[in-house]
Structure formats: C-alpha cells, structure tokens
Symmetry: C2
C-alpha cells in the first residue's frame, strides 16, 4: 500500500486525506449501488411519490424490481410507506431524514455525470 504517493489535491477545501478502506462507506455503497437504487432515490428526492408515479418516470424499471428496491429502502430506514386515508386509499413512498440527506450525494453524482458522462464511451 502506498500512502506517500497521493494525487495532488484538486479540492483544496478538503483537508483530510481519504483512508483506503472504510467499512461504513463499503456498506453504504453496497446498498446505494444496487441496480436502479440511485435513480429511484433521485425521484423520491423531488418529493413523496406513489408506486406507479416512480415506475412512470424511470425507463426500463420493472414492477417487481421497484417493489424489491422499495422494500430494501424501507429495511435500511431510508424510505417510509405512508397510507393516506383517502377513498380509494392512496399509498405514498417518502424519504426519511436519512434518505433526504442523500441529496448531496445525488447532486455530486449529477454534477460529475454532466461533466464527464456525455464524452465517455458507450457501454
């Protein structure tokens, strides 16, 4: 491991050096990195949504996958499922404070993607 050969700091406002490995970071990545998770979180960051509203704005996302991801987000404490006492009953998915706090992450990825993703080779 090389700890003496770090890149020149591009972001000088960041004082502390990154550690090579961090278990909490690895765990967060494992949850947030799951397929479709990042795009679902982005939709929910714009406000509470119903299941079909989320499905409607994400091209290619299937019904069972969205169900599974929403359950996982509930388990992780990032989303709450709210049943509104309307007729018919209306179910909404809403971010918890932990979920809403992901806004900075989503914005940084968006900024990075806007800068670098258009010119990159296709996958």
């Amino acid at each position: 491991m090389k700890t003496d050969n770090v890149y020149e700091a591009g972001h000088t406002h960041e004082a502390e050096a990154l550690t090579e490995f961090c278990p909490q970071y690895a765990r967060a990545i494992n949850v947030l990195g799951r397929r479709w998770m990042g795009v679902i979180l982005r939709v929910l960051l714009t406000g509470p949504h119903r299941f079909n509203e989320i499905l409607g704005v994400i091209p290619g996302l299937s019904d069972p996958t969205l169900s599974q991801r929403l359950r996982e987000l509930e388990t992780e404490g990032l989303v709450t499922r709210r049943v509104l006492p309307t007729s018919p009953v209306r179910v909404e998915y809403e971010l918890t404070p932990a979920g809403r706090d992901l806004e900075r992450v989503v914005r940084e990825i968006s900024t990075w993607a806007a800068t670098w993703m258009s010119a990159a080779p296709a996958t």
Copy 2:
C-alpha cells in the same frame, strides 16, 4: 408525477431543484454502482496502486472480480493502466482526471455513511 410537493430544502445553498430523471445521471449510476466499484475507486483516490495492493485492502474482493472492474474502469475512461519499465515490470492502476473528479462523490457518500450507516439495521 408531483412537482409541486417537494421537501423543504435542507441544503439552502443548492438553488436548483433536481429533475426526477436524468439519463446521464442514470448512466453514471449504472457504472459507479456496480459491485465493488465504489470501494475500488476509493482505494485509487488515495494514489496509484498495483493490482495486489488493491486486492489486499478490500476484504472479500476476489481476483477475477477486481480484474473485471479494472477493465470496466479503463473502458469508461476512469482508470489508466501504467507499465513502469522496472525489472521486474511494475504495473500500476491510476485514475484519469475523470476518475479523480469522483473524489467529491466518494467524500459525500463517506460523510453520509458516517452519519447514518452505523445506526441503521444490518443487511
């Protein structure tokens, strides 16, 4: 879709509202979210590393998976493979400017993880 019901802005320095869906963001998420990608990128953000150095600091990462991820990172233009003319030859993996620019993303995820991930339920 509800565009009028947004959460109260917790981060008031962010002026612009997020759009619900952004194709470049979705594409970035699809690359960065792959299993182990985030932890590999974090290691490389601390400086250029040899294959076995990366393998050594990430618990549970297998040799073939690291090979595959590094190839994907090269294809996406985020990592370059450098062959140093030593004896024996030394091969290092180094982030490109696009890869290094992910530091803000990695730092925001780290900050979020340090705040929320310790108290969250185990997966």
